[in-house]
């Protein structure tokens, strides 16, 4: 089983680094192959909004850079993990640059799904999804963050998902237990 971790943190974010390490350690102990990707060190250009990945080279972004590789790794994984500082209630620009380029894993065609219009699935199988945000003290965007992750599941069709917020001022020693809870929620460890 393979897991890919999209690390959307800035350089020097020790909390996200610790969460990433704990996820990798716990998954590896359970026999998983884990690939963390520090998105800040990748060359992923911004999505052009051209729809080329749907109508020119269906399934592949027209931009030939690391964005193609992160998309390939995501769809070929069994678990996709998104790590990000909670940014105004949403994701950081570093994480979002990879997510904006992931849309060729869907078809352009529209369907009604859970009462709303969404894109149809291109692939038969999608990875499970775990979304973790690290939130600064003094703000409370947990509700928005979780709602965003839930909306993403309507488009990315994970067979299981979990989304959670970790407070940056919390004792780092609690990270392994927090991570274990999240991995259990997505049913990748028991």
């Amino acid at each position: 089983m393979k897991a890919v971790i999209f690390d959307g943190a800035k350089e020097g974010d020790l909390t996200i680094k610790a969460i990433e390490k704990s996820i990798a350690d716990q998954l590896t102990e359970n026999g998983w192959e884990v690939e963390p990707i520090e998105l800040r060190n990748t060359q992923i250009a911004a999505c052009l909004g051209c729809f080329g990945c749907w109508v020119k080279t269906p399934g592949t972004c027209v931009i030939n850079d690391d964005g193609r590789e992160t998309t390939r790794k995501a769809i070929q994984s069994d678990l996709m993990v998104w790590l990000t500082p909670v940014t105004f209630g949403g994701y950081s620009s570093e994480l979002k640059k990879a997510l904006d380029r992931i849309i060729p894993i869907l078809l352009p065609y529209f369907q009604s799904y859970r009462g709303q219009i969404h894109h149809k699935m291109r692939y038969k199988k999608y990875p499970k999804l775990l979304v973790i945000g690290v939130q600064e003290p003094g703000v409370d965007y947990e509700e928005t963050f979780i709602a965003l992750a839930e909306r993403n599941t309507l488009n990315f069709h994970p067979p299981a998902y979990a989304a959670s917020v970790f407070q940056r001022d919390k004792d780092p020693k609690t990270i392994p237990v927090f991570v274990e809870e999240q991995l259990k929620k997505v049913e990748v460890i028991s």
Partner: protein
């Protein structure tokens, strides 16, 4: 907020002048110009990746009394470069503590017909406004964006009548330094056809539009390709 003198139209779409974000934002800002405000346009995709561009962006934001952020919805929130601009503006304002009252207005557009799909994107911009010490001027959610076809908005056209009426109403409030009324917000966020009809038409007709685009690119036989599929 006292009588505003200038307005900055900040475009978050990578499609620049040829985007729905620009068409909608420009209509609102033109209406504000008619009421005596001076306007400026900035495109985040051209600014956030260089130091010079970032300085220009921050200077334009500092100078504006009202900022209209017009951006598409990408993957349920905002495009990467719009978020990047918000991060840069926030960091800057934390450092310089601006004292001038400024107002931020959001316009989001999306291809999906349901305006509710844009609620989280609006909330994220609202949170940014609060954290960065901008007064909230209101948020407009324009669904079924492809029907606009990135053309300048026409007040006489049935398809854009509600949107242009709502934007015109919003311009009255904003030009006086007030947040837009709920009436303006709701009107500009209304579809020109009933939602059930828009949803049906999306499934029946817009899907054909994708096929036409694919045919134009000789890609019609590849539409369902799965280039990254593993044989498991």
């Amino acid at each position: 907020m006292s009588q505003p003198r200038n307005v900055l139209l900040l475009i978050g779409s990578p499609r620049g002048e040829g985007s729905n974000s620009h068409a909608i934002g420009k209509f609102l800002v033109d209406k504000m110009e008619e009421k005596g405000l001076v306007s400026e346009e900035a495109f985040v995709t051209r600014l956030v990746n260089t130091r010079e561009g970032t300085e220009r962006l921050l200077k334009s934001v500092d100078n504006a009394d009202i900022i209209v952020l017009a951006t598409p919805m990408y993957v349920d929130s905002l495009p990467m470069q719009t978020i990047k601009a918000m991060e840069l503006i926030h960091e800057h304002r934390k450092a310089v503590f601006p004292t001038k009252p400024q107002m931020l207005v959001a316009i989001i557009n999306s291809g999906f017909p349901e305006k509710e799909q844009m609620n989280i994107a609006i909330k994220i911009i609202q949170n940014f406004a609060q954290e960065s010490n901008f007064k909230w001027g209101g948020g407009i959610r324009v669904g079924w964006g492809m029907a606009l076809n990135s053309e300048p908005l026409n007040e006489k056209k049935g398809m854009t009548r509600k949107l242009t009426k709502g934007l015109s109403l919003a311009s009255l409030d904003l030009s006086m330094g007030h947040p837009m009324s709920k009436e303006a917000e709701d009107l500009a966020s209304s579809l020109f056809v009933p939602l059930f009809l828009a949803k049906t038409m999306t499934r029946l007709f817009l899907n054909r539009g994708w096929n036409k685009l694919a045919k134009d690119n000789n890609a019609q036989t590849k539409m369902y390709d799965r280039p990254y599929e593993l044989s498991r």
